[in-house]
Amino acid sequence: MAERWNFERELAVGLICIVGCVLLAVGATGSERTRHAMDITASVLDPLEKPAVFVIDCVERFRRWTAERRDLLMELEELREENRALCLQAGEKISAEFKRRARSGNRLPIVFRDPSVWWEEFRIGTGDEKYAPGCAVLDGSDLVGVITSQRGGSAWVRLITSAGFYVPVVVEETREIGVVTGDNEGGVWVRYLPSDGDYKPGMKILTVLGSRLPVGLPVGELTSERRTVTAGIDEFRVKTGADLFRLQYVSVLGGPQP
């Protein structure tokens, strides 16, 4: 049961307060005195509100930092894409240049390929031309092997499927450096690639500085076949650009020696 009290008096006092406030609101809103009172209130509260301002400053800085970071990451990704496109474009130019240099007059026949070392070496007929050991042997613009020696009218070529073939290469899209070598069984592998690289099948493999071969010679493409030999280091099978099984003619890059 509610106690008895003078509710009418309380209501009257309350209403007087409310009406007073409403009159104040109607009369004083927007006046110069109100603005002055607001300025004074703000200046009195200013030191007390500093922690909140500090917090909001920190939040704002953090928000800006994350936004800027997101923008930078997006920009970086765009630049990477652009770089990949430019690299591919440059690779195509280089291929075209190799094709131009490996002209039809430079088409040399394979005169001997021993079945017992089918994937290791073969001999090409060079005629009167002289080629230095280490010259690149191509099928179209794709690397097939290197000349190891020349005697008379022929030269021996070590195939990229040979286990004794070691040439430094780069995965064009990721710029990871590895070494391409064969397994004497028709397979070509890129070795010593870091496991954490973002590799995808179809990425192009090109020669780099570090051997006597010209830079940018196409070797082939990465496949999805991957093996881990040592922790953190992977090997990928390479699909060669040249059909090494059905080779009949090759060209030599570097040109005949004078």
Binding site: R4, F7, G14, A28, A52
Partner: protein, 160 residues
């Protein structure tokens, strides 16, 4: 004295939270909850002079700090104190515990939210009204839960 310190702290907390909420969202009604806390702690049915004065002063200060319409929230807080006082003493003395306090607070906070939205710039509200109400009421729920827990620990054993 402790009650007045509670009110001062409540006003300051609401002010600080309003700054942190960047003035585009509503801060929880901490000061109103503190006022109702004080009003509903009264054991005797007396004229709540102290709380009417606190409502007027706190409301006026809030008007001068935030909206520049002196008297608007003074009037609203005064009306809230009157309503809370009236409602509290309609409840039988044995039942004046945490639950009625929570119910009265929720109702008055709802009215206060509505009044704040009415006096806000419509441009700020466009498309964000759900977010504004949702954020404020999430914060209201957090503060009120804390106060209800505190009140049930402190006062529910005692008779009002």
């Amino acid at each position: 004295m402790k009650d007045f310190l509670t009110l001062i702290f409540g006003w300051y907390a609401q002010d600080v939270v309003q700054i942190i909420m960047t003035q585009t969202l509503l801060a929880p009604e901490i000061y109103l909850m503190a006022l109702i806390w004080c009003v509903t702690r009264e054991k005797q049915v007396n004229m709540p002079w102290r709380w009417l004065a606190a409502a007027l002063c706190g409301g006026l200060l809030m008007d001068l700090r935030w909206i520049g319409v002196p008297g608007l929230y003074g009037a609203l807080y005064t009306a809230a104190v009157l309503a809370a006082h009236w409602a509290w003493f309609q409840i039988p003395a044995a039942s004046r515990r945490t639950l009625p306090y929570v119910v009265i607070t929720i109702l008055l906070c709802a009215v206060m939210t509505l009044s704040r939205l009415l006096f806000w710039e419509p441009g700020v509200l466009t498309g964000r009204i759900g977010l504004i109400i949702g954020m404020q009421w999430t914060a209201n729920a957090a503060v009120l839960s804390f106060l209800a827990l505190l009140r049930s620990r402190l006062h529910d054993e005692k008779s009002f």
